[in-house]
C-alpha cells in the first residue's frame, strides 16, 4: 500500500516545491518589480539587407567580395585580425596566382630572424594567413581602451543575425535618442563608447569607421558608407562560410536526387502494398473522421451518443 502511494507522494512533493518557488517568485516580483533597462526598449533587431549568397540558389558576387576585401585591408585590419583566412584562399574570390602573390607581399607577417633568432617580420607569402594587427590580446586591449577587437574570420557565424548584424552595426551609429536620456537619465553613453542601437548593450567600443569615402573602388562603385558596409559584410560572409558556393550547388543536386528517390521508392512501396490489400485508415474510434461518421450514424439510428 505504501509503495503504491509513493508515486503520488513524490509527484505531489515535486509539485509542492515548484508551486512554492512559483509563489516565492510572484511575491518577489510584487515586492521588487524588476528595473527596466535601456536595452530592453531601445535595442533594435538587425536591418533587413540581402546578399548575393543568400537563399538556396545564392552564389557569391566575386566583385563585391573583392571590394569587401579592399575595405577590410584599408580600414578594418587596423584593429581586427582575420586569423583563419590564408592569402591563397583569395583565389576562391577571383584572383589568380600572380595577384595573390602580389597582394600577400604587401603584408608583413611575423617571423624569426634566421641570423639572430630574434622576432622579426618578412613579406607575406600566399601560404601565410592574414597577420594579426597586434602581437597578442593584451596588446590589442591596450591599444583599444581595454576593448578587444574580435577576430573577423568567423564573425558572421558567431553573431546572432549574421551578415545583417555586421552591416547594421557598421551603419547603425547615431546620437543617443533624447527619449532614452529622458527615461534613463543615468544611461548616458560613457566617454570611450559609442551609441549603436544594434549592439546588445547599446554602447559599443568601436567608433564609427565607415562614413563614406574611406576607400576608392577601382570598378567605379560609389564609395558611400552604406556600400562599403555592405561590401565588407559580404566579404565576411565569405570568410565565415567559404563553402557557400559548393554547398548550395551540392545541396541542390542532393535534394533533386533524394526527391527522385523518394518518389520512386513511394511508387514501389505502393505497388507492393496494394497486393497486401491494406486499404483502411487505421486510426481508431477517436479519429475525428470516425467520430463524425459515428455521430451521424448514431443520429440516423436514433441512438444517443
Amino acid at each position: 500500500m505504501f509503495v503504491r502511494g509513493l508515486k503520488y507522494l513524490i509527484g505531489l512533493g515535486f509539485a509542492f516545491v515548484l508551486l512554492l518557488a512559483l509563489f516565492t517568485g510572484i511575491a518577489g516580483y510584487v515586492k521588487n518589480p524588476p528595473v527596466p533597462l535601456p536595452q530592453d526598449e531601445f535595442h533594435l533587431p538587425p536591418k533587413d539587407v540581402h546578399f548575393a549568397s543568400d537563399g538556396p540558389f545564392g552564389k557569391f558576387d566575386n566583385r563585391q567580395l573583392q571590394r569587401g576585401l579592399q575595405v577590410y585591408s584599408e580600414v578594418c585590419k587596423a584593429c581586427h585580425s582575420l586569423n583563419l583566412v590564408a592569402f591563397n584562399d583569395l583565389k576562391q574570390i577571383g584572383y589568380d596566382d600572380a595577384e595573390v602573390k602580389a597582394f600577400a607581399s604587401q603584408w608583413q607577417v611575423p617571423d624569426i630572424n634566421p641570423d639572430t633568432g630574434e622576432a622579426s617580420t618578412r613579406k607575406g607569402l600566399p601560404a601565410d594567413h592574414f597577420p594579426s594587427p597586434f602581437a597578442n590580446d593584451v596588446a590589442a586591449r591596450a591599444a583599444n581602451n581595454n576593448a578587444l577587437p574580435p577576430d573577423l574570420s568567423d564573425i558572421v557565424k558567431a553573431r546572432e543575425g549574421g551578415a545583417a548584424y555586421v552591416y547594421s552595426i557598421l551603419t547603425g551609429y547615431q546620437n543617443q535618442p533624447a527619449a532614452l536620456l529622458q527615461k534613463f537619465p543615468t544611461a548616458k553613453t560613457p566617454p570611450n563608447l559609442h551609441y549603436n542601437p544594434y549592439f546588445a548593450s547599446l554602447n559599443i567600443a568601436m567608433p564609427q569607421m565607415l562614413h563614406g569615402g574611406e576607400v576608392t573602388y577601382a570598378d567605379g562603385t560609389p564609395n558611400t558608407a552604406d556600400q562599403e558596409a555592405k561590401d565588407v559584410a559580404a566579404f565576411l560572409v565569405w570568410t565565415s562560410q567559404p563553402d557557400i558556393n559548393r554547398r548550395h550547388a551540392a545541396g541542390i543536386a542532393v535534394a533533386v536526387f533524394l526527391a527522385f528517390a523518394s518518389i520512386l521508392g513511394f511508387l514501389a512501396y505502393h505497388q507492393l502494398w496494394d497486393e497486401a490489400k491494406r486499404s483502411v485508415r487505421l486510426t481508431g474510434p477517436l479519429d475525428p473522421e470516425n467520430q463524425v461518421k459515428r455521430k451521424r450514424a448514431s443520429r440516423k439510428a436514433g441512438v444517443k451518443g
Partner: protein, 435 residues
C-alpha cells in the same frame, strides 16, 4: 523469432548455404530484419522512426570517425582544427555539418519514437524491457551529445561543460570532490577535453550495443501496433521484408531530403552562434543555453528557485534526473490494460497536454530568465511531474476504454465500419477487454 508462422531462412545460393551451415549470420539477419520477422500489418508512419533513429546513429558513427581523423583534442588546437576541417579539408564542411545536424536529427527522430511509444502504450507488458532499454539508449545519447558539444571548444562548449559538471557539485558532502574528479581539474581544461573526446568516441558503440538488445527484446513479443491489440494469427502480420523495408526505405529517403535541406541550406540554424567564438574562461556568455534537445530538462532544472529543506540547486538537479528516471517506472505507473491511446479517450487528452507541456518547457529552457518565463516554466514543470506520477495512475484506474477490435486483421478489414458505427449499437464481435 516470435511467431510460429515466421518463415525460416532457406538459402537460395550455394554460397549462402555454405555460410549458413558454418556461421548462421544470414539466418540471424533474415529473422531480424528480413522475410523471417512478421510485423503487424497495420503500422502507421509513426512506426518508421525507430529505423530512422538507427539510420542516424549510423550516420553519426561514420561521420564521427571521419572527423576524428582530423580533430585535435587540445585546448589550443580543438577550435582551429574544427575550422581547418570546415575550410581546408576536402568536403570537410559537409562531414562536419552532417555530424553537427545529424545529432539534432537523431534526437528529433528519437523524440518522435518515444512519444509514439507513449501514445500507443508500447511500454506496457510484455514490452517493458524494450522501453527501458530504449531509455538507456536515450540517456547514453544525451551524455554523448553533451560531450560532443564540448569538443569544438567554443564558448558554449566551455560554459556548457561548466554548467553541466556543476550539477554534480550540488550533491551534499561528495559534490565538489566528485566534480573535480570528473573534470580532472577545478574547471574544464585539457584533462576534461581529452576524456570527453575519449568517451564521445566510445559511447556510440555502447549505444549500438544497447540498440541490439533493444531490438532483440522487441523481437520476442514482436512490434506493437496502432490498435494495441496482440497479434493473433498469420493474417495479422506481413513479413518485414519486403513490406516494411519498402515502407521504411521510401520514408527514409523523404526524411533525408528534409535533413539535406537543413545541412546544405541552413547548417547553423539549430546551433548557437556563440560556439563559433573560441572558448574563453574569463568571459561568460550572456546566456548559457544547451542544444535544443536538452532544453526541456534545462527548464525543469531552472524552475526550482526556492529552498525547501534542501537548497534550490539540489532540488533542481534531483528533479531533472527524476524527470527522466521516472520514465523507467512508466509500465507500472500506467496500469490500464488497453495499450493504444486510440481507445482511451481521457488518456488521449492528457497525452496531448503532455506534448504541449514538453514543448512549452523547451521554449522556457531556451528563453532568457525573466519573471514570466520562469513562472511559466514552473507551471509546466509541475504538470510534467503530476502527469506521470498522479494523473496517469489515476486515469488508468478510472477511465472506461472504448471497445477494442477483436484482432488486427479485423480492424484492417472492417475497422472503419465498426469504428464509425452508431454508439452503443452492440455490434457483434466488439469486446471491451484488452487484447
Amino acid at each position: 523469432m516470435s511467431f510460429s508462422w515466421a518463415k525460416p531462412y532457406e538459402p537460395k545460393h550455394p554460397v549462402m548455404r555454405w555460410l549458413d551451415d558454418r556461421l548462421p549470420l544470414p539466418r540471424l539477419v533474415y529473422g531480424a530484419i528480413g522475410g523471417g520477422y512478421p510485423v503487424p500489418r497495420n503500422l502507421n508512419y509513426w512506426w518508421n522512426f525507430g529505423v530512422l533513429a538507427g539510420l542516424f546513429l549510423t550516420i553519426q558513427i561514420v561521420t564521427g570517425i571521419t572527423l576524428a581523423m582530423w580533430y585535435y583534442a587540445t585546448t589550443d588546437g580543438a577550435f582551429n582544427s574544427v575550422e581547418h576541417i570546415m575550410r581546408d579539408v576536402n568536403a570537410g564542411w559537409l562531414i562536419r555539418y552532417v555530424h553537427m545536424n545529424g545529432a539534432s536529427f537523431f534526437f528529433l527522430v528519437t523524440y518522435i519514437h518515444i512519444f509514439r511509444g507513449l501514445y500507443y502504450g508500447s511500454y506496457k507488458a510484455p514490452r517493458e524491457l524494450v522501453w527501458m532499454l530504449g531509455l538507456v539508449i536515450y540517456l547514453l545519447m544525451m551524455a554523448t551529445a553533451f560531450m560532443g558539444y564540448v569538443l569544438p571548444w567554443g564558448q558554449m562548449s566551455y560554459w556548457g561543460a561548466q554548467v553541466i559538471t556543476n550539477f554534480f557539485s550540488a550533491i551534499p558532502v561528495i559534490g565538489d570532490p566528485l566534480r573535480v574528479w570528473i573534470l580532472g581539474g577545478y574547471a574544464p581544461d585539457q584533462a576534461a577535453l581529452t576524456r570527453f573526446f575519449s568517451l564521445h568516441y566510445l559511447l556510440p558503440f555502447v549505444i549500438a550495443g544497447v540498440v541490439i538488445l533493444h531490438i532483440w527484446a522487441l523481437h520476442i513479443p514482436g512490434s506493437n501496433n496502432p490498435t494495441g491489440v496482440d497479434v493473433k494469427d498469420e493474417r495479422d502480420t506481413l513479413p518485414f521484408h519486403p513490406f516494411y523495408t519498402a515502407k521504411d526505405g521510401w520514408f527514409a529517403a523523404a526524411f533525408l531530403l528534409f535533413f539535406a535541406i537543413v545541412v546544405f541550406f541552413a547548417p547553423n540554424w539549430l546551433g548557437n552562434p556563440d560556439n563559433y567564438i573560441p572558448a574563453n574562461n574569463l568571459s561568460t556568455p550572456a546566456e548559457i543555453v544547451p542544444e535544443w534537445y536538452l532544453l526541456p530538462f534545462y527548464a525543469i532544472l531552472r524552475s526550482f528557485t526556492a529552498d525547501f529543506i534542501l537548497p534550490a540547486k539540489l532540488w533542481g538537479v534531483i528533479a531533472m534526473f527524476s524527470s527522466i528516471l521516472l520514465l523507467f517506472f512508466l509500465p507500472w505507473l500506467d496500469k490500464s490494460p488497453v495499450r493504444s491511446g486510440n481507445y482511451r479517450p481521457v488518456f488521449k487528452r492528457f497525452f496531448w497536454i503532455l506534448v504541449v507541456d514538453v514543448l512549452v518547457l523547451g521554449w522556457v529552457g531556451g528563453s532568457p530568465v525573466k519573471p514570466l518565463t520562469v513562472a511559466v516554466g514552473q507551471i509546466a514543470a509541475t504538470y510534467y511531474f503530476l502527469h506521470f506520477l498522479v494523473i496517469l495512475p489515476l486515469i488508468s484506474k478510472f477511465e472506461t476504454p472504448l471497445p477494442l477490435p477483436n484482432s488486427i486483421s479485423e480492424s484492417v478489414l472492417h475497422g472503419e465500419k465498426q469504428e464509425s458505427a452508431p454508439a452503443r449499437s452492440g455490434k457483434p464481435g466488439v469486446t471491451t477487454v484488452a487484447g
